[in-house]
């Protein structure tokens, strides 16, 4: 156990290579996690193509992972104060070093905008250590927050939720869904699909999904979407018109943008009723501007538009509680189309980019050793 296999994006544009890394010294308060699964997220495709700023290549991707505690130095406790032990299956919060003392943390209480916030697999490079999930082991620095998996949430179920789970959770929290609302969701990727689930758990009486391809829309229906509208067979006007037709001509009470296309913004605003709420959560990279008419789309509509960035510990904690409660009803694992070894990470990225899979998962045990 002296070196460790990792898959790394060597530089913007690739390639993705297997590289051996030394196992680190374990500081007091830190943990070495044996990776069970790590996620391949749409963001990892952006990382491959160098679309995010300030990323230190070479990089071990994988910002949401689940593993088993291999080594623990000192006592690390969960949020209830109960110590973790070797062998515990845990999920970890990709986001950490939120400082608690800056203006955003202490005055605005908007911790996802804390400048000190760091993310495993994105803002740390391989030179910083085993700080990404596409690796046989992950080094959890002191202060990284862990969650114990409930007995009825398997590691595979948790990773199926992946990064989309807390992201969608946060978006639905921002949406302020009222019991009985109609919720439209733009996009049927992992964030959109998790939003289908959480919208219902937040009280939506009807869920409408616009997206593609049919593989994803079928899963949206299985998760309880009352109506799915395929991007492939409709134009924006038809989609807006269909949502209005289903809602007495008014539009959805709440619309969740989870597709990343700037053109979706105007469409989403028109899809939402006057005095409704529109949550923008899918625009994680800069794909250029949208044309918005501030009179028609915002002022006269009396619309609430709510951007939603990142997530915090509460979103993972609360989302996991609901996975535990509703796992028999909503089959999160159905999102996983394919599991890949570290050696197949490049293929995984390509399959995600081409929408061949809904969710791709890295399982380092497939690589042997």
């Amino acid at each position: 156990m002296e070196t460790c296999t990792t898959a790394q994006i060597v530089q913007p544009g690739g390639p993705v290579e297997l590289r051996q890394m030394p196992l680190p010294d374990i500081e007091p308060g830190s943990i070495l996690l044996k990776t069970l699964y790590s996620e391949v997220c749409g963001t990892d495709c952006h990382l491959l193509h160098g679309k995010l700023e300030g990323v230190p290549y070479p990089l071990i991707p994988g910002h949401v992972s689940v593993g088993e505690i291999a080594i623990a130095r000192g006592v690390v406790r969960d949020v209830d104060g109960i110590p973790f032990e070797v062998g515990d299956k845990v999920a970890f919060l990709d986001v950490h070093e939120t400082c608690g003392t800056c203006w955003y943390c202490a005055v605005a209480k908007a911790t996802t905008r804390c400048p000190a916030r760091r993310v495993y697999g994105i803002t740390y490079g391989a030179d910083d250590g085993l700080l990404g999930g596409w690796s046989k082991f992950i080094y959890l620095k002191p202060g990284v927050r862990l969650l114990r998996l409930p007995e009825n949430v398997s590691p595979l179920t948790y990773i199926a939720g992946g990064c989309g789970m807390p992201t969608a959770f946060h978006a639905i929290e921002r949406a302020g869904i009222q019991l009985g609302d109609t919720v439209a969701i733009q996009g049927s990727g992992p964030v959109g699909l998790n939003s289908v689930i959480f919208a219902q758990l937040a009280g939506a009486a009807r869920v409408i999904v616009t997206g593609s391809p049919s593989l994803r829309l079928e899963l949206a229906s299985r998760y309880g979407a009352d109506e799915v509208i395929d991007f492939a067979h409709t134009c924006a006007e038809e989609r807006v018109s269909r949502v209005r037709q289903l809602t007495g001509g008014r539009g959805a009470d709440v619309t969740i943008e989870a597709c990343g296309n700037p053109d979706a913004i105007t469409e989403g605003m028109e899809m939402t009723r006057d005095a409704g709420r529109y949550v923008v959560v899918g625009q994680y990279t800069d794909n250029g501007p949208a044309q918005v008419n501030p009179h028609l789309h915002i002022n006269r509509k009396h619309l609430d538009v709510r951007g939603c960035w990142g997530c915090d510990f509460s979103h993972i904690y609360r989302g996991l509680s609901l996975m535990s409660r509703w796992g028999h009803h909503f089959d999160w694992q159905a999102m996983i189309t394919k599991t890949y070894g570290l050696a197949d990470a490049a293929q995984a990225l390509e399959d995600v980019a081409q929408l061949k899979v809904i969710k791709a998962v890295i399982n380092p045990s497939l690589d042997g050793g």
Copy 2:
């Protein structure tokens, strides 16, 4: 008292003419109001140029007015159940026939989007009767809501607040200002100036105004704006930069758009801190689209954008309470640059359009008779 002089916009594009109208029969539950003052609002300039849809010309403008009860048929009561009497000085809510039973009223509780809502001086034409304020008398149909002027709020003070008072009040209510916030206001017209006042009463510790011309900015300063930035001497980038400089590099906690220019939208978003609130209240007519980058301006900023349309009875009632309480501190009348007779209504419109005045007021007693 058999006929009544009115000023009417005859058709889109004008002219504005004095016309005699017969005094109406007074239905049970209705009131004939002797007009003391009526307002000339920016919206009236739009009406002159035919910029609003569905307006029935010829039109008696004047959607906010204050008057004295000349005739009352039956008992009309205020919100506390106390009957109005002949001679009472009253303000009236321009907006009425909000139905209370449609989906927007009863389910969404978003009454300013009620389709049955009608507005004196805008959605009624002269053929409907004396239903606008630029007239010696105004006919208050049954159900039109009245407010008794507090003793320490003179008719002139009330009309100085005018339409901008409840509009700004509503915008500030939507803004959810927290005690100690920094508030930036885009625009120094009546809505902007009333926002300077209400932002402070809602707890702002600092108010920054961008606007022009200097006449208005000077009044903003008198009303307590800590910093005013003149459109005439700055570009958007400089204004954003100045607001950030004043706020530790972050931007305002809350920005109120009250200028009507679509280009203000992006500027306003950049002027607002991450996780702040941006209220769009000034885009009352369609002046075309704005280019918004949904990644930079909404999603990553975790921004709340809140459209704000119209007002309801509570905004006038509550705003009037504050005018009564703070009238000694904030000199609302200072907004009135000039008072015009009905015969000078066309001139008033022109002076408003050319920003020669801050607030123009119609006083029908100046016409004699």
Copy 3:
């Protein structure tokens, strides 16, 4: 069809008698409804014993009912503007004449405290007409709000929800449940059981019910309560202790009081975590004071206590949407233990009072004719 059989509470203390009433003239805008079912509510027991003030006896009880339109004079429309027709199955809002213009309606926007509000079967007496549900026909005065039953919500399902449905809905709305919360519910009557359902639909990850008898607790479990605690086998201290044990020692995030016993108040506060929310909805009649320690139970706990009175149209509308959406999952009809004819109304009241039934329903067709 010239007279109509009704069951009336003749005076405080009873008896309950069948009485014939003439069928009324149908005013324009009003409807004669053939009663399919009407509810026997705990409030009706209070009415029998004269526990409510200002009730005009003799009284036709029945404040929540469902029926079929027998006669309609003029056009009555639903909230979407679609006219009702003879033969339509409709639920009606027991509460009406909320004025829309008083201080509570127009300024406070707290319509359930509107002084003009009237309730069928409670604030109208038999001398006012067929204004209660324990009758072959119900006269719906102009302005009484109707809801069309969705196709997949049968009249029996709707009446099973009964008065407890919108009451619980309102309580859950007041509770502000966050996704993943633990919710404790005090009481397992119709309001408690509907709260079990709506708490889950509002995002609770865990529901704990304290109540009795076992018939009701078993239904609570069927509805998804994770833990039920029987009043019969526990003292207050044990119940508080059990809830804390299930919540890491902290108590429930939200507690809903739905049992009507003043002693429940302190117990409920202790059952709730610090900085949690406690909704008091079950104290519909005056059963005397509770002893609350303001330091321990309110101030130091940083507790939110929220009274909840009545309901409005939105609660029925939204609740009905959820009944339609989740009727396959939550079997509302299981609450109905027994159905009675009008002639058996006295027996129904007694069975309710003695907790022999969960929900008793009046079906006037059982009386023949």
Copy 4:
């Protein structure tokens, strides 16, 4: 500068004695503050009489203080990241070690209920070091949060606000005052008086204060209270009746309990309008139970009761911004009746207990040396 004079409460019941303490070693990240002023708070009287649990005597009281940086080890930064320097005048947050990682911090986001939270002058004893303000010097452990005094807020003005400033600020934040509300305040001590100020800054159009003695009520009036009602000349029923008389028979929109007497609870509830908000902030020690009728006072009133415990950094930061903005309008220093040396601390406690002073302040420079 090798030893330091402190005033200590030796044990529950006293006495209060001057004691010399050695000056501590200054750890990296910590600061030695030369005390300019420290506060004598009502809580200090409770500490003298042993009314709080878990307090480690002997104790250096003084939980809110203002001072000048005498020694700083390493770089300590303010919330904007700007380093503090020797000679800076700073206020410090009495509350610290809020952990950021426990369930209350990370999931409930209710940091004032964090179990790790410690308070200078209350939960630290003299054996822990110079961790209270009644001392020539105060040792600020690493992590204690500091605020730079704005130029226009003098140390004396800041200490005049004292502990009551953030406490009242938090209560007003909890109250959710709407612009134009009527606010009743029970109690005219430092929390009540600060509430008079902040209620107005939060938009109250009218403020009513019940309290005593007249010295305090006169100051309430100077701070803008529209009506003051003296406990000495009225009974509870008269006070309730007077508030209702001033509010159309309804009661205050918001009532703030800031007097500490359990009997105030029922009175405060009755003083508040239906569907209003009642904030309980004054019950900082256990003075026994109150009798509350849950039907009349909570359920039927549709009342919101909000406990309010402690404060966090944002309350001091935001409150200080408002002190800076409104210091010319509200004369905070008028609350200081008398300033005492350390040697007179016992006298100060007695004067506070007997309500001889509104606010007593310790100034260690009065002791010489």
